[in-house]
Symmetry: C2
């Protein structure tokens, strides 16, 4: 029989700092002599009994995780249904954990993962298997309830604000004879958190971004174009930040998730950035450029926020602590103690209160005209992008990313198609 | 009469380090007690007699230019024609310079700017006006001849390699149940330098980027898709770097500079990135994501290369030196002394040998199969992204950009419509 084991798994979209959480988990578990297995590709790896043995990692390798973006052990987009509908898979999870003497399961993800961890904790009780399930927060979407913010968001927010500030200087320098309107697309299908973060780039009314398009505000094409025109007339150029989740007044996404089909039947995978840019060009005849950073914004570990990194490490360490204390069905969340100076602490919350809920932006975070952020929003966001978290670079000029190559723990069970 | 003056102007597309060149110019000129005027929006500012007086800048402000992206004094995309065709404008330039006792004119740009500086130097001679014209190199396109590389390129190259390496970890972590193919679009309409720089992210055959599409290699859709398919089968995912300048076998751009028109008559401003992504989705049915960093790649001062920054400062300082020495019609260029360790020096070249020429990628920089870079290319590129050039950040978590607000020198002449 192997020794009592902690199983860690990553779930859903990765962030610049999810591996820092993994690093925090492994460091804390080692202090308490706990063995740590990490599932390959999230819950799929548990179903398949593909579990990396992290005890092979040197302390340096564990620390290096904290400056490596992506998901070091692999992650997946798989949502289990209810225990009734998906009983075979839930029971398989418990079987695999039993076979490896897993006493603590840490699931690092968003709403769906909190839900899975919760159901698993309940099923384990009915199956009389002693398992403590802890959810560990993570998402660039910043949409988990109860926690003040989500690890991963602060770094994506910093990437957004810095990139927009830099590009705006480019546009400003060239606007007279070149691009007049620049459109920057942010992630955030359901809530405008990252679009709001773009707003941190500007301090006064005529600073970029001049206009932000939020998913929370129905898109009014005529009013938007009027504002673009007025901004160009007043400032000389106009920088627009647009959330991928912007919707038409009828509630439909401005740019469908699958894009559109052109006259030749080809997919146009243009996101909302190029779409809004096209409107500006067609309706106003202004020269326009657009950028869609896509995955870059959630993997830019080189530009991570120090605050965010600290959060990511702290929730990992606290999760191990909660696990040891048998705080089944909880999640370590971030509580804000004060804005200025920014102070925060980690506290437990019930997974039942988090699973399947979604935090949207408070209405008073969006300016009355709908195109910018309020002082209150700025006060909330500012500490989250504060401080730098530099990565080590090699002589080749590239960050020293460290993705461990680990052996899988010996399988104890017959295989199963997950 | 004002004292003998150096006039500096920025031209064409900006880079992450063009302001570092400006900083080098002002620092060097101050050492020699030269007065420095900087034209507002490039040559347009000279025509309009809109000349910033940089003597108001504190030494700290001058140094801060070196970590501020964009073009601090403004730049423009204006190409003068031949002296015969554009005589009034050339003569106006000389008039304005005479009015401000400009003895030295430094034009910081690419091929076109070298041409303008050259013509101006020739016209000044025929007009018996004592003017020394110096071209100062700059372009993320890396397409100036004679110089080993162009200031601005190394930082854009570093941005490209780092961003691609980070995003590739994201894709790798999620490929099993999410995105299988990721397409990253680089700038470079005429030459594949930045697409080649993406190649620095990978060290071995199965590292990202798995495929690079160069403007130099006609796009073979069937062969490309076959390779994408094979890469996904072998590696589990496929990362593609595509240059905006990729062409069809008939020589036409894969994505027109103006985009296409959709079934509703709207402009589709999709670049080549979404277009290639669309092919992958339609023809192979694979889940695909794409990123178009656009201006971000040439304004990401936060990720500048130390080598590139050193080049940018050095050409600025050398330009002042050449100006003082009356080396009319020259440009300080970068000469590589050795690859490993990387050593370089600044040397003069004749503008006549640079103007209107374009350096393309050597054929032996592209791998025989057309989808990657050779060891020789890597040896050339590697030193250019080497070393970091950190920027100072404020307590707000943003870089402390410093765009000086300067007064214009008092106009001496009646106005003119440029």
């Amino acid at each position: 029989m192997s020794k009592p084991t902690l199983l860690y798994a990553q779930s859903g979209g990765v962030t610049a700092v999810i591996n820092a959480t993994a690093s925090g988990v492994i460091q804390a578990a080692r202090k308490h002599k706990m063995k740590v297995l990490a599932a390959r590709n999230g819950i799929l790896g548990v179903l398949r009994e593909e579990l990396f043995d992290t005890s092979r990692m040197t302390p340096d390798q564990v620390r290096a995780l904290a400056h490596t973006p992506g998901g070091a052990f692999g992650t997946c987009r798989v949502k289990l249904k209810s225990v009734e509908q998906d009983r075979a898979r839930y029971e398989r999870l418990i079987e695999v954990m039993r076979a490896h003497d897993v006493r603590w399961f840490l699931y690092n993800g968003g709403n769906d993962s909190a839900d899975t961890a919760l159901k698993l904790s309940q099923l384990a009780q009915t199956m009389d298997y002693p398992l403590t399930c802890i959810g560990v927060p993570k998402t660039v979407d910043n949409d988990l309830v109860l926690t003040d913010c989500c690890p991963g968001f602060g770094s994506a927010a910093k990437y957004t604000a810095v990139s927009l500030a830099e590009a705006a200087l480019d546009v400003a320098a060239m606007a007279e004879t070149s691009t007049k309107v620049f459109v920057y697309e942010t992630m955030g299908r359901h809530a405008g958190w990252l679009a709001a973060a773009a707003g941190l780039a500007g301090k006064s009314a005529d600073d970029a971004p001049h206009l932000i398009l939020f998913p929370e505000i129905p898109f009014d094409e005529a009013a938007f174009l009027e504002r673009v025109k007025a901004t160009v007339a007043r400032v000389g150029y106009c920088v627009v930040a647009v959330s991928e989740g912007v919707r038409r007044p009828d509630g439909k996404f401005l740019a469908g998730s699958e894009g559109s089909i052109d006259a030749f039947g080809h997919s146009q995978l243009g996101g909302v950035g190029p779409l809004v840019a096209g409107l500006v060009k067609d309706q106003l005849g202004l020269k326009v450029h657009w950028a869609v950073p896509d995955y870059l914004q959630r993997s830019a570990r080189h530009l991570a926020s120090k605050t965010d990194l600290a959060h990511a490490l702290a929730v990992g360490k606290a999760a191990v602590d909660y696990a040891r204390k048998g705080m089944n069905g909880t999640m370590p969340i971030i509580q804000r103690v004060s804005d200025r100076p920014y102070r925060w602490k980690i506290a437990p919350a019930a997974l039942a209160d988090i699973a399947n809920h979604e935090k949207t932006m408070p209405a008073d975070f969006i300016r009355a005209d709908g195109y910018g952020i309020t002082a209150r929003c700025r006060r909330y966001l500012a500490p989250l992008i504060s401080g730098q978290a530099p990565v080590p670079y090699g002589p080749d000029g590239l960050p020293r990313h460290a993705v461990p190559k680990l052996p899988l723990a010996t399988k104890q069970l017959p295989g199963m198609t997950p």
